[in-house]
C-alpha cells in the first residue's frame, strides 16, 4: 500500500496544526504505521511526544533544513502507511512548499475568527500553485476550536465557503482535553473517558478524509 501523506498546514500560527497532527496521527496509528514529521522549527510535535511516561502512539521525527524535498520524503518513509506533516506557520517556507508537493491531502485548520480567516486567504492560491506539480493534491478546511454557543462559530461554515476549498463536515470543538493531552505527552485517545468526545471528533475526521 502506498503511503498516504497528509499535510496539516496553515500560514497562521496558533490555528491548531500540531494538535490536529498529533491526534490525527494517534488515530491513524490504529489503522497502520504512522509517522509524524515535525517540519516546524519550533519543534512542538517533537516536544509533545517527548513528554510523559508512555510512548506516543505514532513515531514523531523532526525534519529541518532544506536538504530534502517531496521526492525524498516519499523515498525515505515509504515503510509507513501514513505520514502526517506538521507544517510551520509560513506558507513561503521550503517545508510548506515541499509538503504541498508531497501530500495527498492538505488539511487546513482554521479558527472561528475573522482574523484567522483573513490570514489564511493565501492558501487556496498556494494550493492551486502546488497542484501544477502535485496533481493528486486535495485540500480540506477543518474548523477548529468551535464554540457551539457562539454565533460566530455558527456563521463560520458559510463564510469559509468563500475560500473555494471544501470544508470537512466535522469540526473540532474547543476542549480542554486537547491541551491536557499535549501536556501529558499523549493523544486524546489515551485520555480515557475525558477524551471520549474528542476521540469521536478525530475519528470522524479520519473517516471523512481516508474513509472507514
Amino acid at each position: 500500500m502506498a503511503t498516504r501523506v497528509i499535510a496539516v498546514i496553515n500560514q497562521k500560527g496558533g490555528a491548531g496544526k500540531t494538535t490536529l497532527s498529533m491526534n490525527l496521527a494517534a488515530g491513524l496509528s490504529q489503522r497502520g504505521d504512522t509517522l509524524v514529521l515535525d517540519l516546524d522549527p519550533q519543534g512542538s510535535s517533537r516536544q509533545w511526544a517527548s513528554l510523559g511516561n508512555a510512548p506516543f502512539p505514532a513515531t514523531v521525527k523532526q525534519v529541518g533544513g532544506n536538504k530534502w524535498d517531496a521526492k525524498t520524503l516519499h523515498q525515505n518513509y515509504k515503510a509507513y502507511a501514513y505520514l502526517v506533516l506538521d507544517c510551520p506557520p509560513s506558507i513561503d517556507s521550503h517545508a510548506s512548499l515541499q509538503a504541498l508537493r508531497a501530500c495527498d491531502l492538505a488539511l487546513i485548520p482554521v479558527l472561528p475568527s475573522p482574523i484567522d480567516l483573513w490570514a489564511s486567504l493565501r492558501l487556496p492560491q498556494e494550493i492551486e500553485e502546488a497542484r501544477k506539480i502535485n496533481k493528486r493534491l486535495q485540500a480540506r478546511l477543518v474548523l477548529n476550536q468551535l464554540e457551539p454557543k457562539s454565533a460566530l462559530s455558527a456563521a463560520m461554515h458559510d463564510a469559509i465557503a468563500e475560500f473555494g476549498i471544501k470544508v470537512l463536515d466535522t469540526g473540532i470543538r474547543r476542549r480542554a482535553v486537547y491541551r491536557s493531552a499535549a501536556l501529558e505527552g499523549v493523544s486524546v485517545y489515551q485520555m480515557g473517558s475525558r477524551g471520549k468526545d474528542a476521540v469521536a471528533e478525530i475519528e470522524a475526521i479520519i473517516n471523512e478524509v481516508i474513509g472507514k
Binding site: L117, L121, M156, D158, A159, F163
Partner: protein, 96 residues
Amino acid sequence: MTRLKDKLSASVRQAKAAQQTNAKPAARKSAPAKATSRPATKKPPAKKATARQVTRPQPAPAKAAPAQAKPAVSVSAPKVSSSTVSPLYPNRVWPD
C-alpha cells in the same frame, strides 16, 4: 445571525480582493506605498469655511503638525477682538 454570516462573508471577500490587488505590484511602482491594504475611509466633506476660518491669518505653529492630525477648523478667539475681518480682503482689518 444572518447579519453576522453576511458580515463575515463580506469581510472575507473584501480581504480577498485586497489581496488580489496587492498581488499586482508591477504597474504600481510609482504609486505611493499604502500603509495597509484597508481601503481608505471616506473623508467627510469639508465644511464650508466661514469668514473667520478662511481669513484669519494664523500664527505659525511652533511645530509642524502632521498633515491629517487636525483639520484647520478650530481657530481660537480672534486676537483683534475689536475689529472685523472682511471675507473679501482677508488681510485687512477694518476698525469697528
